[in-house]
């Protein structure tokens, strides 16, 4: 097993790059807190410490296994329909939105999300002369439906920053269960990134190929499946415990020269304790 922190960081980065945003903080959040369909989003700020272990592709390490400790940060603020989410669970680190329309069972949001930076020379020495993949600003819509015991969410976003000019989409279905004070949830999803989005972050141009050790590579559109199960337990009014197991495919990384270790998917388990302000 490789050294924890660097491996963890690189693998999480790889994971984020290889899949489009799927575990939207809002639906995961609603499932975690066992919110009913009438509940408006909470304002919250959480800091915590967690441990995570798993296996998956890596941009920087020879071995697919990883384990380590990580800080947990998540926040959300909602005011008159506007909201900003800074969520540790999502691959979009920063998301602004406006809750535009609600019916009895559906909620529609307009969202603007920052994907976070991609590969750069800071990622690893291997990427010394590579072009920096900057963050995309994704603008689009998100519909969340409350269908019986299930929550479904569909999102469609387009990069308006001009960095990738890509399109991402996702479809999620999840539900939760309460057993005494333990709140369980399960989430299944599909995520899609078109070829422009994939190629900007995971492609290697002919020009880059000439000045680096990487072969030219054209990334195609990616469709990935995701699944997660988790549990949240209130230790006190201010402290919560979480444990999660996630798995998702990493199509489009298998033959990618940027990855030092390739795998068909990521499987990871994690647990954390967070303070809720």
């Amino acid at each position: 097993m490789s050294s924890p922190n660097k491996v963890l960081a690189s693998l999480l980065l790889a994971s984020c790059l290889a899949t489009t945003p799927v575990f939207g903080a809002d639906i995961a959040r609603e499932l975690r807190v066992n919110a009913d369909e009438n509940a408006a989003p909470d304002n919250f700020l959480e800091f915590g410490l967690g441990a995570v272990a798993g296996t998956g592709p890596s941009l920087t390490e020879d071995e697919p296994e990883f384990a380590g400790f990580t800080f947990v940060v998540a926040a959300s603020y909602n005011y008159r329909g506007f909201f900003v989410d800074v969520a540790g669970e999502t691959s979009e680190p920063l998301l602004f939105g406006y809750n535009a329309y609600n019916t009895d069972n559906w909620s529609f949001d307009v969202v603007l999300a920052n994907t976070g930076d991609g590969i750069s020379d800071d990622t690893d020495d291997r990427f010394k002369d590579i072009d920096e993949r900057e963050a995309s600003t994704m603008f689009g819509g998100r519909a969340t439906g409350y269908l019986g015991e299930n929550i479904v969410q569909f999102s469609l976003k387009h990069d308006v920053s001009g960095k990738s000019k890509g399109i991402t989409a996702s479809a999620l279905i999840g539900r939760n269960w309460q057993y005494r004070n333990w709140n369980f949830h399960g989430l299944l999803g599909l995520s899609y990134a078109n070829d422009k989005f994939s190629n900007y972050y995971l492609g290697v141009s002919e020009e880059e190929s000439l000045r680096t050790d990487f072969e030219a590579y054209e990334a195609s559109a990616m469709l990935n499946a995701n699944a997660s199960i988790g549990v949240t337990y209130p230790i006190s009014e201010d402290w919560i415990f979480r444990a999660t197991a996630v798995a998702h495919t990493t199509n489009g990384t298998k033959d990618n020269p940027l990855f030092k270790t390739t795998r068909d998917g990521v499987i990871a388990v994690g647990a954390s304790i967070s303070y809720v302000f």
């Binding site: 066992n34 009438n38 408006a40 919250f44 809750n99 535009a100 609600n102 309460q178 005494r180 009014e237």
Partner: protein
């Protein structure tokens, strides 16, 4: 003479009754009773969820007697004891809100001591507006 005997007996009965009533409602009687709950609180993840807590109610009284523990919100008797000075009752607390429990005398139902299970939560969700377009 016979009338005086009846009057005296009646007077004694009234005095005894008054004395008994005084004893039942006296603050000293209440001060002799103590009802406590453990743990004192139950934490749910979200407001409105049922909070579950294995709970124990313990009571004691200086004077042996017949006492009952009552859940105050619905006035249901959880358990009664006969000619005892103390007791314990364990149960599975399940509620979305605070619940008050009282120790009362069995016959008179007079409340001698109170305690409360406080339900709190981590996240407080307000209601989502429905069927509406927002226009800022």
């Amino acid at each position: 003479m016979k009338l005086l005997k009846y009057f005296t007996a009646l007077l004694m009965l009234i005095i005894t009754s008054l004395s008994h009533a005084q004893q039942q409602t006296s603050p000293q009687m209440k001060g002799l009773a103590k009802l406590s709950i453990s743990p004192k609180g139950c934490v749910a993840l979200r407001k409105g969820q049922i909070c579950y807590q294995q709970t124990s109610l313990t009571w004691e009284h200086a004077i042996p007697g017949d006492y009952c523990i009552i859940q105050w919100s619905n006035k249901s008797v959880l358990k009664c004891w006969q000619n005892q000075t103390g007791g314990q009752f364990s149960f599975d607390f399940q509620s979305t809100q605070d619940e008050e429990y009282v120790l009362a005398q069995r016959d008179s139902q007079e409340v001698l001591s109170r305690t409360r299970m406080v339900v709190s939560w981590v996240f407080k969700s307000s209601k989502r507006p429905k069927s509406s377009w927002r226009l800022f």
